[in-house]
Amino acid sequence: MTILGHLAEVVAGLLRDDERRVLLGEDVADGGMLGLSRDAVKNPALRPRVLSTPLLPITSFAHAAGLAGAGRHPLVLLPGVGAALEGLTGLREAAAWSWRNRDSVGTPIAVPLCVVAPCGPGFGLGGDASEAAATMLASIAGLTVLCAGRAEEAGAWLRAAAEHAVTHGPTVLLLPRRVLLGAVSGPPAQSLGRDPTSPHRVREGETVTVLSWGAALSIATAAVEATGVDATVIDVGCLSPLPRAALEAEAKATGRIVIVHAGPRTGGIGAELAASFADAAILHLDAPVVRVAGADSPLRPADEGDAVPSVERVAKAIERIASY
């Protein structure tokens, strides 16, 4: 089974599990551009909660937040993260909605809204691949931004994001297209089995700490294997709010940090992490904090792969920092 087919099953399962859930999107009634609502629309019991809307580039998230504030659990399926950037205005209101309506009396309004957005290179369409979409979303106060890094965990990330067990407010789950197209060895994980807002060690090592997420995570792991350096690889996973204390502890453990992510290096989440280590862990660092990221320029659709650093570039950086 493909990852997208698995995700379609998870989406239908989420609707079955909780009657408050509704699916939103312009084309959800037709299965969605990626087929994520295909299983849900086939089920007559779930069909009434698959809510097609007109194209609402500016207001879709405010509409979803209105539904959420009134007790629904909307799952917004976007064709790509570009739609989230078009809708930043509505996303800001969605993120502020609970806070703005908070009083010293009365029950606060909850906004259990989950937005699912494919991002980065993979389909050969260019678009958002060369932009720091995650950074733009992470700068909205009150919004949680999660990013799946491993193909076998994509469904588990979706479940975790939509269940709001840890994240109570509006949550955007970024699904890198490269991860969606990735091969899965073995059955996909049904549950994440950990707190989605905490960093996760995907490989243990003593010499270097490699921090990565999303489309770059598999590159980072491959680069570590290629160098033979005894490195820890961390899946950061939650890009906003950043789990700073846990990440700083990881940085201090080896004192040698390589940050690997897709998208432009300038103004990225990696820059925020590097600044945070300089601030909180400077006395534990034995080498410069190095970032390896994608191209810092617009990319033609044919070159969109340059939005993710190559294994060779990452390996070189790891070797340099390991022997610094």
Binding site: L51, T59, A62, G66, L67, R72, G90, R100, N101
Partner: protein, 316 residues
């Protein structure tokens, strides 16, 4: 009386300029005296708050009819999404004045000063971005439709918002998803010095909305009876599943010094006077009652501020 440049064309009214019911028209069960008291209270509150030094305050004098009428028509469980200059809604909904003043002065809640919201009273907070509260209201109405409880949701905005993308998208959403949403637009007419959008779009929001396929009525905001009854019709349609409605209310801001018949409070006063239901004593009682309560509310605010300033890090 002949119509003046201040009178909108094609806007429904039941009372003429002298406050007389047009031939065959009825109040339709409206308690005109109670409604009048609420309009007077809204006016008095507006005048008092205009002197209170609220940042970016804009008076709503002359625009009371759609505010008071919406609050009267909406049931207690039905949410109202205001759009600024709408403090009268909370007053008409029965929010005690000390609480209202605390909120409007920014001492309670997280809404911006000058606005009144309260989730307990189903009054949604305003948004940062222009017109985005309309889309939040559409989402809320969508949830009400799914719940099937026969409740409407109300949202208000000014005609300026009608050129925004959020307004247009909300219309598309209301129409496509058949939402139980009543949108009340307060449109100003400009007898002299119209802004740019009026020239481009004509003076009727209703005409543009009708082209989107929505149930639309245009009423004269200086005539409070028509305003009330039209909003009530829109609400009944929404509650009974007959779809969304947009009520375009042409208001005249008193700050522009229009002729007296353009003042909705005066128009209803003339009506009551014509029926022998108004006297200067009645007027004095209406105004004095609210003035006393308002004075008390501002005393409570001063006490609150005095206490807060004594706490470490408190308001100076």
């Amino acid at each position: 009386m002949e119509s003046t440049p201040w009178d909108p064309e094609g806007a429904a009214a039941l009372l003429d300029a002298e406050g007389k019911l047009a031939g065959g028209a009825t109040l339709g069960g409206l308690d005109a005296k109670a409604y009048y008291k609420q309009l007077v209270a809204a006016r008095s509150l507006d005048l008092r708050l205009s002197r209170a030094g609220v940042p970016m305050w804009a008076s709503a004098a002359g625009e009371e009819a759609p505010l008071v009428a919406t609050a009267r028509v909406a049931d207690d469980e039905e949410w109202i999404f205001g759009g600024g200059r709408d403090v009268a809604i909370a007053l008409t909904r029965g929010m005690p004045l000390p609480e209202l003043v605390q909120r409007v002065m920014g001492r309670e809640g997280n809404a911006q000063p000058g606005r009144v919201s309260s989730s307990a009273r189903r009054l949604a907070a305003g948004t940062d971005a222009l017109g985005m509260h309309l889309s939040l209201a559409a989402g809320h109405a969508h949830a009400e439709k799914l719940a099937g409880a026969g409740r409407a949701t109300f949202a208000l905005c000014g005609e300026g918002t009608s050129t925004s993308g959020a307004f247009t998208e909300t219309l598309a959403l209301m129409a496509a998803c058949d939402l139980p949403l009543v949108l009340v637009v307060r449109s100003q007419l400009w007898p002299n010095g119209a802004p740019a959008e009026a020239g481009v779009l004509g003076d009727s929001v209703a005409d543009r909305v009708r082209a989107c396929g929505l149930w639309t009525r245009r009423v004269d905001g200086a005539e409070p009876v028509a305003v009330h009854n039209t909003i009530a019709s829109a609400a009944e349609r929404a509650r009974s599943g007959r779809g969304p409605g947009v009520v375009d209310v042409v208001v005249t801001q008193l700050v522009h010094d229009p002729p007296a018949h353009r003042d909705p409070v005066e128009r209803l006063r003339r009506f009551l006077d014509g029926r022998g239901e108004w006297s200067s004593t009645f007027q004095d009682v209406c105004e004095a009652e609210l003035r006393t309560q308002l004075d008390h509310a501002f005393e409570v605010l001063d006490e609150h501020d005095a206490l807060a300033s004594q706490r470490p890090g408190g308001r100076p």
